[in-house]
């Protein structure tokens, strides 16, 4: 296989890590809405936790993204 092509395919495969971040962030927001509909009065106090959780889940996906970019431009 052409090394350049292999590099680009590898960069694409590295982006698969974003799937996990998508599932994680979706889970967090989905569960937040489900919880907020059950007890709307407690929802506002948990918005901070919501975004921190989303950011932590997202960071792992970003690692894959950075890896993909690094493979792509190297």
């Amino acid at each position: 296989m052409d090394p350049q092509a292999a590099k680009l395919i590898g960069a694409g495969i590295a982006m698969c890590g974003m799937i996990g971040a998508g599932i994680g962030v979706g889970n967090i927001f989905g569960n937040f809405v489900a919880g907020a509909l059950r007890n709307p009065s407690a929802a506002a106090s948990q918005v901070g936790n919501l975004f921190v959780g989303a950011a932590l889940a997202e960071a792992l996906g970003i690692l894959a993204f950075v890896m993909g970019i690094l493979i792509w431009i190297s």
Partner: protein
């Protein structure tokens, strides 16, 4: 199509002569577009807070209430996360929050986003991490290492869990740095890619298919621009919240574990 990575290139605006530092070697100290973006961000923060507080009234006007909301939000956050010691760390958190927010939001208006440079986010992450370690040692002495000794776990598991805790502690500046960098860089690349599709469709590179591509890509660009404004604020907020959480770990070490 234009290269979407072109926007992240560092260009020299004013070239200054190289400086040789002992132990580091020759350092290029040109005034670059990255410097310029950061300087504008700094000036915007100072000017904004000066304008907001110069004509302060008891009943705030529109501009003053924006400033007060920002100030109150961070004050609330340090208070609720760190506790009654929180106000001591408020200046650091507020400085980092406003500076990152200014650079993120200015990145949407200027052609260069300072926070999409790994070196800059790494500096912020190391500042935060360094402060956490210093505060940890100053406040707790060698008791700082209790942070890695989980009291809740069974005795047999404690060394293993402690080791994992230790490595996750060392990973904090890396995730802090990559989150801000990746979000800003990824968002701006996506924006430029879709804007490139619009340009390609308009000049006819996609043929008749462009009639379909053009409105879709333009709509996507508008939507992504709105999303990027949200992300710009959210990432500054998340950075501030995580700074508070990491500070809380070491400030309230005795009664938290």
């Amino acid at each position: 199509m234009a290269d979407p990575l072109h926007q992240f290139q560092i260009k020299k605006i004013v070239d200054l002569p190289d400086v040789t530092l002992p132990g580091i070697g020759s350092v290029d100290v040109a005034f670059t577009n990255s410097h310029l973006a950061m300087t504008i961000g700094f000036a915007v923060v100072i000017l904004f807070l000066w304008v907001v507080t110069s004509g302060a009234k008891v009943v705030p006007g529109r501009l003053q209430s924006v400033g007060e909301t920002l100030f109150g939000m961070i004050d609330n956050m340090t208070g609720s996360i760190i506790g009654h010691d929180g106000r001591k760390y408020f200046p650091f958190v507020f400085t980092i929050f406003t500076f990152i927010l200014a650079m993120n939001v200015l990145g949407m208006f200027l052609s260069f986003t300072a926070t999409s440079q790994l070196a800059i986010t790494a500096t912020f992450a190391l500042l935060t991490f360094g402060l956490v370690v210093i505060v940890g040692f100053v406040k707790n002495g060698l008791g700082f290492f209790k942070l890695f000794w989980p009291m809740g776990a069974p005795l047999l598991m404690r060394p293993v869990v402690g080791l994992i805790e230790f490595f996750s502690f060392l990973l904090r500046p890396i995730t802090l740095m990559l989150r801000l960098f990746g979000n800003m860089m990824g968002g701006h690349i996506a924006l430029k890619v879709f804007a490139g599709f619009v340009a390609a469709a308009v000049v006819g590179a996609a043929g008749w298919f462009g009639v379909l591509v053009f409105p879709l890509s333009l709509g996507m660009t508008i939507g992504l621009t709105a999303l990027e404004f949200l992300v710009a604020f959210l990432q500054a907020f998340v950075f501030a919240v995580l700074t508070c959480i990491y500070l809380n770990d070491v400030v309230n070490l005795d009664h938290a574990h």
